[in-house]
Every structure is written in C-alpha cells, then in structure tokens.
C-alpha cells in the first residue's frame, strides 16, 4: 500500500470520487488550477477538467449557497473553505438551508454536500487561522460533523462524507496534514510514512460515519478524543504510564455512543479532550452523555482538557494548546480520585 500523508489521502479520496461519480464537483478558493493552499486538490483539475474542479470567488456564503443549489439539482458538491475560521459567512447557508432542507421540504430536496475545512492550531495561525469550530456545527440538527486523525481514516471518512445524502462538515486538523503531531513542538516532526495509518489503499474504501475507533485498548481510563488530540493522548499515556483506552471518535455527529459507553463502563474513568475552547464545547456534550449513560460505573469525576476560553493567541499557542503535560495531569487526577 502506498504511504500517504493526510493531504495526499484527502486528495486520493476526491480523486477516487471524481472518477467514480460524474455528479461529484469540487470547488473553493484556490482549489482549481493551483490545487489549494494546502495542496489538497493538487492535480485534480488537470486530471478531471476545470468544469469539475474549479476556483471560486472569495465568498464562503456564496460557495455554500451555490453548493446547496447544486445539491438540489442532484450533484454531490465538495466545497473547500480554506480555513475553518472562514466558515462563518456560510453559517446561514449551512444552518438554515443545507441542514434543514430535507426536513422543511419533507424529503423533496436535500443537500448532499461536503464542506472540507482545515481546523486547529499549531502553525502560528493566530486567532483567525487556528480555530476549532466543531461545536458550532454539532449543535445543529441536520448536519453531520467529522474530524479524522490520520490519513487512512481521512480518506475513508471523506469518501463516506461525499457519498452521504446529508450535509457533512469535514474538519481537517491541519497540524496533522504532514505527520502525527503529538503535542511536542520541540521534538523533530515525524512523517506519516513512519506511522501504520499512513498506509493508505490507492482505491476506493469507506469508513462509516458515526463509528468511533478504539485506537488503544486499556483498563484504567477512557480517553475520548478526536483529531490532533488523539495523538496527544497517546503521548500523555506513554509519559504518565497510565493504561488508557483511547477512543478516536472520528464522527462527532452522529457520535458512536455504544463504543463510548462500553469503554467507560469497563474503565470507570473518563477524560475528554479537545483543542477547541472549553465552555459549550463538544466535550460538554460528551461529558453529559457519559454522565447520563455511565453514572453508576464512574469511579471519578469526568475531566475535560481543552483549549482555554480565549481566542487562539499567536505568540502563546503552546500555552494555549492542550498538550501532553496537561492531559497527563488530568489522567493522574482521575486515577487519584
């Protein structure tokens, strides 16, 4: 199997879907001739033609409005929003339109679109190129929200998202594009070619939406994480010596409640991680779900390790980022309880 980094895996997913389905079209700012500022659509216009992979005006609301109309026609649009931070002008089209079209028309129309957007910090992007906005979307009924943590999942999940008949917001942790970053910026970067999940089949395969992955089985603490924090959790476990069961959620909505419940019932402890700000974050929903489903199995209060409730600061991003030391502290805390 070829080794791919996450950008190449995403590119491969789109390439495969363009080849399989003539109704797939891909567009966004700089995605056409140039191939995207992160290179995710590199070569796709040359291979599939400019009618299928094209540049758009700088208007995220327009990109999504057009995508809803194309979806109503019967196409499967895949729109790139260049940074998750830029998605806000498209909120009306996503929340009021794409998410509710099937409902409000009682199934006469739907919006089978996928929005890809790079998210998360760690690249000195400051407050406008680092955000993790997933909780704004997980709150919206009618949308699905997906965040992969490795190239293999990224490709299989993106294929599923494109084939899904409901609108999917697909966040790509940009710090993971080139390697499995574990929260130690001072260490040399590790490429995906050195990681098992950097082995990506060249052809078509799917990873179903709504299914989590237990990436490390363990007995002492369940860690619920997604995106970059999956790798941070693994580092924190190694550094603290605590035997965690690491659940990579992959899909936030729908969330895989069965895997979460089975794990917490087994370990009796739960630590929830995300890079996004804490208050009202997806961790709050996860915490409530664990409490509702597993209260009598819990031996310690649920802990959350998240970004602080501040904008993402440019100069202090590693103080902001919930790295392995903070995660290890939470692991020790739940073990001491």
């Amino acid at each position: 199997m070829p080794a791919m980094n996450m950008v190449q895996a995403l590119n491969s997913a789109m390439d495969v879907m363009l080849s399989r389905d003539p109704d797939v079209v891909i567009f966004g700012e700089d995605v056409g001739y140039f191939g995207g500022v992160f290179r995710a659509t590199d070569g796709l216009q040359r291979k599939h033609g400019k009618q299928r992979v094209f540049d758009t005006p700088i208007a995220e609301g327009g990109i999504l409005g057009v995508a809803v109309g194309m979806g109503a026609y019967g196409l499967r649009p895949v729109a790139e929003v260049q940074f998750a931070d830029y998605i806000y002008p498209a909120m009306d089209q996503l929340i009021s339109e794409a998410a509710r079209l099937r409902y409000r028309s009682a199934g006469e129309w739907w919006a089978p679109l996928t929005v890809r957007a790079p998210c998360g910090g760690g690249i000195f992007g400051g407050q406008t190129h680092s955000q993790s906005a997933e909780a704004l979307f997980t709150h919206v009924c009618g949308l699905k929200t997906v965040i992969p943590s490795n190239p293999y999942d990224a490709k299989g999940l993106l294929v599923s998202a494109i084939e899904d008949d409901d609108p999917v917001v697909f966040f790509e942790p940009k710090r993971l594009y080139s390697g499995p970053f574990d929260g130690h910026p001072e260490k040399p970067a590790v490429p995906w070619s050195k990681h098992a999940l950097g082995e990506v089949p060249a052809g078509y395969y799917r990873i179903p939406l709504g299914k989590a992955s237990v990436v490390r089985a363990g007995e002492e603490v369940t860690v619920l994480a997604y995106g970059t924090l999956v790798h941070v959790a693994a580092a924190a476990a190694d550094e603290s010596g605590i035997d965690i069961e690491l659940v990579d959620l992959r899909s936030l909505r729908p969330v895989d409640i069965e895997t979460i419940v089975a794990s917490v019932q087994k370990t009796g402890r739960c630590v929830i991680l995300h890079e996004a700000t804490r208050t009202g974050g997806f961790g709050a929903e996860l915490s409530a779900l664990v409490q509702e489903h597993c209260f009598f199995s819990l031996e310690a209060p649920i802990e959350r390790v998240t970004g602080w409730d501040t904008p993402y600061p440019h100069a202090f991003e590693w103080q902001y980022f919930p790295g392995p030391a903070r995660v290890a502290r939470a692991l020790r805390k739940v073990m001491a309880a």
Binding site: G65, V66, G69, Y73, P77, D92, S96, R104, A106, D166
Partner: protein, 410 residues
C-alpha cells in the same frame, strides 16, 4: 474647505407618512413603448441604460405598444388573467381563514399577482423556480392544485410538509418550485448553483430566483450576482421591488441612490427594469432573459417595479407607517385591471365574461377550501401524526432521535 462644518448623518425618509396624501410625483415613468428592445446577445455594457429605464407595453388606454410587445395570443392572455384572478381569490380566502383562527399566519400578494403569473407563463414548465414568500402566483400559474397549497397553510393532515413550515412556505418538486426559506435571500445563490449544475450537466433547463428589494442588502444577493456573472449561469435573477420591506420603504435598501436593476451594472450583467404591473412587459422581459440564458449567454437581473397593496403579512399593520391611500394613488395601476382592459380593447374579453370568470375562480377557491378544511385546520386539526416531527432530519434516523421520539411518546 470649511473644516468647521459639521458632518450630518443621512437617514432616508419616504415622501409620505400616515395622515399625509400619497405622493408619487417623483417617479419618472417613461411612456409605454418608449424603451428599446436590444437583441439578446447584446453586451451588458451596451444596454446599461435599461437599468434606469422602465419597460412598459400597455399604454394608458390598454393598448400594447412598442418593441417589447410579446404579441401573445388572446388565449394566453386569458390564461394569465385567470391565474391572477385565482391568485387574488385564493389570497382573500386564506387571509380570512387566518383572521378566523384557522391558521397562524398568512401573506397576500395583492397588486403583485402579475409578477409571478406572467413570469411563470414566460418560462418553460420544467424550468426551476427559487421563489421567496410572495410568489404564490408561480404555483397557481403552473396549475398546481390550490387544495395542496391550502393544506400547507393549515398544516393539516393533508400537508405534504407535515406541519413543519410556517404558512406560505410551500415546496413542490413536481412543480419545480423550490422549498421556501424564511431566511431572506438564501434562495438567490441557490438558484445560481442549480443553474450552474444544469449547465454542468448539459441540461436544457434554466433557473429563476426571486428576492424582495429589501433583501437585496443581504449578502446572498451579491453572492448570486457574483457567481452568476463569473460562471455565466443560466439563471434569471428577479428583484421584486414592491416599495416596502415590512415598514421600511425602498430607500432604506438603497433604492434612492440607484435603481435595484442598476446593481447588475457593476457585475457586468444585463439588467431590465420593468413595470411589474404590466403583464405584457413582465412576460416579454422574462422571455428575453430566458432566451439569453438558454443561449448560454448567462444571467439577467430583472427589477419588477410594483407595489405591495396589502400588509406585509397578517402580523403587520401598514396604517402605522404609510398613507392609507397609497395603493389607490399608485401610478402604475393594478395588473389584473390593466390586462382586463387590454383584452377588452382587443375585443377578446368583456365585463360579462370577466364577471363569469371571477365567479368561477371564487367558486373554485370555495370548493378547494372545503376540501382542504375537511383535511383539517391548524386550530382544530387533524394535524399530521406528531411522531413525524422526528423524520427527515437526516435520511436515516439516528439513535438519539429514535430515543427522543420514544420519550415524547409518539
């Protein structure tokens, strides 16, 4: 330069308010037949003056004059007249039904019937429509059953939308009438996306979108014009300028600085500004734009200059913000009356035939009303089964919605 002069903030104000006589003396209304009709392949630049003109075909005596006369057969004109009369009768009935408590809300299109009806008839039946909330005439002109529309307004057991949408937010895939959103303007960029998809697939169908003059201030209006212009989308973008956005006159949307049609000039898009109460002019302008779109020449912006005679909705009281005699003084008259006079002038209609048609559409509405009310009203039911509330959020119902449905006990 006087550096001590104070700056002043300009707040636009209409020419008349309640208690004052309606004053339309500032409207510049070219005579019928005065505006040239450029070939459809003209460049937007060559025809930019049309954005400040007003295309009119019917003159003061109801004769069709000038290059924009679409030369319709009398049958087509009578069909348009009937659809407008039916729309008005339908509105009157549903307005009364709301006042009787049978539903929560209603919006009439009185005085604007010509816009939707003429445009629907000027398009092909399979062209795709992206309306806003005052284009019920599109459905009626496409012969969509008014019983079905009434069921939607009543949210009753016959409502295909299962009681999910506020009254008048119709949806009909079969009629090519896109699900109406209450968020203003969103349909405009969607119409462009649909048209781009049609062009991508090598289809023959075009799209048309509608927006009110007030909502042209929304970003979606500008997104739509940008994308339609960039990709030469086969779409007709219609601005219905009925002078009022609830209580705000068109000046608050920027209508006193330039016409709404003129917005197209900066996008390099042809614009037609049309007397929306003139059935023939509206029909002809729409045909022109449709022919242009079908010839791969791209989009056209049409401003339909009309007047909102009724309140914004049943929740509105226009006597609080505009003179009582405004619609009476509206210098462009009533679309139904004007088409009727034209038909009479042609010798193809008479007061007697008109009376008969009026009775006929009223009877049609009465019969449909009975049929719809037998399927329920919002106040008395029967309504759709409440468990349907949980359907169609996603294609397949997720675990937590099944659980919530069980919790409600549906």
């Amino acid at each position: 330069m006087d550096r001590h002069r104070s700056l002043r903030l300009h707040i636009p104000e209409p020419r008349h308010r309640p208690g004052e006589p309606a004053d339309f003396s500032d409207l510049r209304l070219p005579k019928a037949g005065a505006v040239e009709r450029p070939p459809v392949h003209s460049s937007a630049f060559e025809m930019r003056d049309l954005a400040y003109a007003l295309i009119r075909v019917l003159d003061e005596d109801g004769r069709a004059v000038g290059p924009w006369d679409p030369q319709l057969e009398a049958d087509a004109l009578r069909r348009g007249l009937r659809a407008m009369l039916l729309t008005r009768a339908y509105d009157d009935r549903m307005y009364r039904a709301q006042r009787q408590g049978k539903t929560s809300f209603y919006m009439k299109c009185t005085g604007e019937e010509g816009v939707a009806v003429a445009q629907a008839l000027a398009l092909e039946p399979d062209d795709m429509l992206f309306p806003t909330y005052r284009q019920q005439g599109l459905l009626i002109a496409r012969d969509w059953p008014i019983v079905d529309m009434m069921c939607q307004v009543y949210s009753n057991s016959g409502d295909r939308l299962k009681g999910r949408q506020m009254p008048v937010m119709y949806s009909s895939r079969k009629a090519g009438f896109f699900s109406i959103s209450g968020n203003l303007g969103t349909q405009f960029s969607q119409a462009v996306g649909w048209a781009m998809a049609s062009a991508y697939k090598g289809d023959h169908r075009i799209a048309a979108g509608w927006i009110g003059e007030g909502a042209t201030a929304e970003p979606d209006f500008h997104y739509a014009l940008t994308f339609a212009s960039v990709y030469h989308a086969p779409v007709i973008l219609n601005v219905v300028n009925n002078q009022w956005a609830i209580s705000c006159y068109q000046g608050i949307a920027g209508g006193e600085e330039a016409t709404f049609a003129a917005r197209a000039i900066g996008y390099g898009m042809p614009a037609l500004r049309v007397d929306g109460n003139d059935f023939l002019a509206t029909y002809a302008a729409t045909r022109w734009a449709a022919e242009r779109a079908r010839s791969n020449l791209g989009a056209t912006l049409i401003e339909l200059f009309t007047h909102r005679v009724a309140a914004h909705s049943t929740a509105d009281d226009p006597s609080r913000y505009r003179p009582a005699d405004e619609s009476e003084k509206w210098p462009l008259g009533d679309p139904i009356e004007r088409l009727k006079q034209h038909l009479i002038g042609l010798g193809a209609w008479s007061e007697e035939r008109h009376e008969t048609m009026l009775k006929e559409v009223e009877e049609q509405v009465r019969a449909a009303g009975k049929e719809a009310e037998a399927l329920g009203t919002l106040d008395r039911g029967p309504l759709p089964p409440v468990s349907t509330m949980f359907e169609d959020v996603y294609k397949e119902m997720p675990w937590y919605l099944r659980r919530q449905r069980d919790e409600l006990g549906g």
